[in-house]
Symmetry: C2
Subunit: 169 residues, 2 copies
């Protein structure tokens, strides 16, 4: 009997499998990804971080008990930790470490929509709605990461394999 | 020129100095505290933790930028970390590790009021109000801790000196 969460995932149908079996994630793992594509992705992805922190913090505040909150607190400490310098180091290597220049690049529509979804859910959502957004984001990352982990090319640039490893460990 | 926060503290007048120069904190440091007093205190204090986590998480969600949030996230990760086992170990030593028995002990009025203040502020407060509650709580702990730190009796029981050290490091 699949869990409720698994039933919800299955009801997303093919869309879930397209997300976790994507040209982008395969090329990211084997290191063959075009660096301009990766750069474009990381610039947009980094713009989620603040909204993600808002959503996770709001979920922690809304959880039913301390035991549930602690998991979220530990994750929040981890993603905002000093050791989490992947973005900084990658922006350096990919030639987009100048914040002012980077800020001139407009959001993709999907970036604005995702940030908006996270902020609205954080402000107005029920606990179930908050968890839905968090779980879809993290579970899809985890699923594509697990799929490609043993195909990562560690000889290659850290900007590719380290991004895969981040979500598994 | 004192900072705005220092001005607010000074306007609390004598009350602030009575908090940070208390029989309780002096005896806690030198280890002479009556263990029944300490036990009573820790049982009540532990009941703040959940409300404190709610308030801190809500403050993180309400901060103005990611840079401000990160400080709170790291603190939240720290106070909910696995290494934070002082309460558990102390309850063991002080003979109140049985949760069901401990739960039978009613809240002190001040406990209920403080938990209520933190939860109400988390739910309905402005960022300034949230910060007021957090800063008074943490700054007063820090201030009495700094005052007694070099008077801690490390030969004594960890239940006394470790509680002082917790707030300084």
């Amino acid at each position: 009997m699949p869990s409720f969460t698994e039933q919800l995932r299955d009801s997303a149908g093919d869309q879930w499998y397209r997300v976790i079996n994507h040209k982008f994630t395969i090329e990211l793992a084997n290191g063959s990804i075009n660096k301009e594509v990766l750069k474009k992705y990381l610039i947009q992805d980094y713009r989620f971080l603040d909204a993600f922190v808002i959503l996770l913090a709001s979920t922690i505040a809304k959880c039913r008990c301390l035991e549930d909150r602690i998991q979220g607190c530990q994750f929040l400490g981890l993603i905002t930790g000093k050791e989490n310098t992947y973005f900084e180091r990658s922006f350096e290597v990919l030639g987009c470490s100048n914040i002012e220049e980077r800020m001139k690049i407009p959001n993709e529509t999907v970036t604005t929509e995702f940030v908006q979804l996270m902020k609205t859910t954080a402000n107005e959502g029920t606990l179930g709605e908050m968890l839905s957004v968090l779980v879809v984001a993290e579970w899809s990352y985890l699923s594509w990461g697990e799929k490609v982990l043993d195909k990562t090319n560690r000889e290659g640039d850290f900007t590719t394999w380290e991004w895969v490893g981040e979500f598994i460990h």
